[in-house]
């Protein structure tokens, strides 16, 4: 089988990997690079646990070939906090008790972060819609939307006081 030498830019670091064409970014993240914050579940783009940011946009890494990511900017949940300090959205998830088992949370946070980057003043419906591709079997979603709303408010406040 043919092998591909890829140079992948993940969380600001370049990783050289040798892989096969059929392997997804999710496979490479988890199995080759040990970045297991990105979760694996349905493998059919239904549940959202594998969500990462590709050039700033939320995408499902389970249906994205690693080969398609060469030269593009990838952010996983491991790359969000700076020097061990949570970004406001992560802190809001903690503060609002929005995390139970935690399995859906990396994808949830990245999808929400991409949405807030695009739409800094979201409505409740907008948040729910933006997270429609992320399933959670524990929380009932309310605390998750609360956390995203609170993070958006906090960020708006920070912008006006700056």
């Amino acid at each position: 089988m043919s092998r591909l030498a890829l140079s992948l830019r993940i969380n600001g670091v370049t990783h050289d990997v040798l892989t096969e064409p059929h392997r997804t970014l999710l496979d490479v993240l988890r199995d080759d690079l040990g970045l297991t914050g990105t979760k694996e579940n349905c493998l059919e783009a239904e549940c959202g646990v594998c969500t990462i940011l590709l050039d700033g946009r939320a995408v499902n890494s389970c249906i994205l070939l690693a080969a398609q990511c060469q030269g593009r900017e990838i952010v996983t949940i491991e790359g969000l906090a700076r020097a061990g300090v949570f970004v406001p959205l992560q802190q809001a998830f903690v503060d609002h008790g929005a995390v139970q088992c935690g399995y859906c949370i990396p994808g949830m946070i990245l999808a929400a972060q991409a949405y807030l980057d695009e739409c800094p003043e979201p409505t409740d419906d907008g948040i729910r819609e933006a997270l429609a591709g992320n399933l959670c079997r524990c929380t009932g979603y309310q605390k998750i939307t609360d956390a995203v709303t609170a993070a958006a408010r906090g960020l708006a406040r920070a912008r006006t006081t700056q």
């Binding site: 089988m1 096969e20 064409p21 059929h22 239904e46 249906i63 070939l65 991409a114 819609e129 591709g133």
Partner: protein
């Protein structure tokens, strides 16, 4: 999944690779249909031709006509300012496809070539009389979208041919469009039935000058409801006439029973959604006046 991976960087490159591999090759756009079908073993191309480095296929051009590059994403359609007015059904169709993660990568070209009878943007394009342009070893050809779709998962695309663009005319004055989708829940759901309608009123705003009705998930391909369209043209759009169009559309579609719904329920939905979509168009034309 086992295949050779290729990354053409121009349209000419993509067409050359398409011609070289023919049936053994598949173009990869957003991969939201293709990768899943490959993983399920439903298709097994020996060559995958990723289009993400091909430039010039992700543009939306609007002058007298509208041209969508095949790689325009559903998200780009949702956010395009040109589609906020009379062409709003395009946004209504695009914004109900999957979640953000899907719409960020899934393309209009993929929606068409995948040829699911339940596709959401396809009926809107059909109601807009869209044509599709393909480029292959034998050159370029342009076909009406209705003729391009030939069966579930089947199109008139020749092996290796690249779909490059979709084109339709802008709407005359006194026109509007509407798209309605019935599913079992609001998001992340394949349509049980979807309906796209385009309506133009006559100069007196009293009668229907032209009507186009497209139905999804009720036949082997997305279809036009021709009898219902004819029953509207030249008529004053009374509630009774709109309901009659709904009954005719329900009669001319050919739904099946499946896990999502029975054929009977699908016909009932068509009967209800067609007049509702037409009424929405009337409201929109009224409001724009």
């Amino acid at each position: 999944m086992s295949f050779e991976y290729h990354e053409p960087t121009s349209i000419a490159d993509a067409v050359a690779l398409g011609a070289r591999f023919g049936e053994a090759g598949r173009f990869l756009a957003g991969g939201t249909d293709l990768i899943i079908q490959m993983r399920r073993g439903r298709v097994a191309p020996r060559h995958v031709l990723s289009l993400h480095r091909v430039t010039g296929l992700d543009r939306i051009e609007v002058d007298g006509a509208v041209r969508l590059g095949a790689l325009v994403t559903h998200r780009a359609i949702e956010q395009c300012p040109h589609f906020q007015g009379p062409l709003g059904a395009l946004v209504e169709g695009a914004e109900v496809i999957g979640g953000h993660q899907i719409r960020n990568v899934a393309t209009v070209g993929g929606n068409i070539v995948n040829a699911s009878p339940a596709a959401d943007v396809v009926p809107v394009l059909l109601a807009l009389n869209a044509t599709v342009t393909c480029l292959g070893p034998d050159g370029e050809r342009t076909l009406p979208l209705g003729g391009f779709l030939s069966g579930p998962g089947q199109t008139a695309r020749r092996p290796g041919e690249l779909l490059t663009s979709i084109r339709f005319d802008r709407l005359p004055p006194r026109s509007a469009t509407a798209f309605l989708k019935a599913g079992r829940r609001k998001a992340m759901e394949i349509a049980v039935v979807c309906v796209a309608v385009r309506l133009t009123l006559d100069a007196a705003r009293e009668r229907c000058q032209e009507a186009r009705i497209a139905l999804g998930a009720v036949a082997p391909t997305t279809m036009r409801a021709g009898a219902a369209e004819r029953a509207l043209e030249g008529q004053p759009l009374t509630d009774e006439i709109l309901r009659r169009a709904g009954r005719l559309a329900a009669g001319e579609c050919a739904p099946i029973d499946d896990v999502r719904a029975s054929a009977r329920y699908r016909r009932l939905l068509v009967e209800t959604l067609v007049p509702r979509a037409l009424r929405r168009c009337l409201d929109r034309i009224g409001r724009a006046a």
